[in-house]
Subunit: 211 residues, 2 copies
């Protein structure tokens, strides 16, 4: 399947296909979808804050948060489609001939490219989830109090989607031979895990103080 | 809208509606959907384990896990539909007349009933997420190694969906006058939060040891 097809499935079909033994959608795609739901919760609370007399003073900030949440949502949707396409891409490389030394070398090189791409995609999903977390943190103290719990929902879901997407990084990274790339991704992974836990806890604490 | 309608939406529409200022789907429904995705990941790994010579010995346990994951998925789908219906129910009670003392008393009584129902529903969603977590824990040491990371995805997502669903409990519970009910729900909330964190960490550790 092409990744874009998933957006025309019913919600019921998404669950059925995810539960089946079909290879896609797998954990990376599901993580991107959860990140997208988290981005939607940030947008919803921003939309419920804008245009209200009581929240007039924070309108410019909330407009900014809404625009960034929409960009993160778009990035996560693209990441999901891409995650599914990576699978077909990988399968195609696996089927390349390896009869001669030249064919083997060409296949190995394409395999390294496919692995980097299959690492960059979930890393991008995790980075977009991190962005959603930061938006939830910015919205928590100023968003509409009547819907503030949904900012907490966004924070919990974005943090877990970030960690879940990183499993796809952990699987592919050890097979990549470029040491500089490995080191760079490992550092980014550690940074995102550490920061995300702090931002999630701080955001939930603000939300709870406003329930 | 009736809760069941959501299952015929496209995945794209789910995100658009969640992001809009429409009151449903809100955080409770979104949490149920994430719990359902986690249940689907458990089912997928179970399906990829069954029928494989290498995993023949664990087949009876995995069959049991698959059946329970399907039951949890079904429970979460019902919980989502119910969460949306609770909202219409609540709005209907708010519109009841309060012209006389009798009308006021009748309205207050119906309101208490609606609040209990709007607390039981997300609590049930959280309990189903907890069940998914326990199934992920059971599958982590015996599921197909080639797909084991998706058990970790299930664990992260189920734990966060549990915590996210509990916000709906936290909002409604303080308005319920029945002290026994309040105490019972608070105890269950504390138990689920504590146990879920432990089970999630233990499951992720097993998954990481098998990557």
């Amino acid at each position: 399947m092409a990744g874009k097809e998933l957006w025309q499935w019913t919600t019921e079909k998404l669950l059925t296909e995810a539960a089946s033994s079909a290879p896609t959608p797998g954990g990376g795609s599901v993580s991107a979808f959860v990140g997208a739901l988290a981005a939607s919760m940030v947008s919803m609370v921003a939309n419920l804050t804008l245009g209200k007399e009581k929240y007039k003073e924070v309108e410019p900030q909330v407009q900014g948060i809404l625009a960034e949440a929409e960009a993160a949502l778009s990035g996560l949707k693209n990441g999901l489609s891409q995650d599914i396409d990576e699978f077909s891409n990988f399968m195609a490389v696996l089927k390349l001939p390896k009869n001669s030394e030249e064919e083997k070398a060409a296949r190995a090189q394409k395999m390294q490219g496919a692995l980097v791409s299959a690492t960059d995609t979930p890393l991008g999903i995790a980075e977009n989830c991190f962005q959603v977390l930061k938006l939830a943190q910015a919205l928590a103290p100023i968003g509409n109090k009547g819907a503030i719990s949904d900012v907490g929902v966004a924070a919990y879901l974005a943090e877990s989607a970030l960690k879940a997407a990183m499993f796809s990084v952990d699987i592919n990274l050890p097979q990549i031979k470029d040491g500089d790339y490995q080191a760079k991704v490992k550092a980014e992974r550690a940074r995102l895990f550490g920061e995300a836990a702090k931002i999630c806890a701080a955001t939930v604490a603000v939300v709870e103080s406003r329930l």
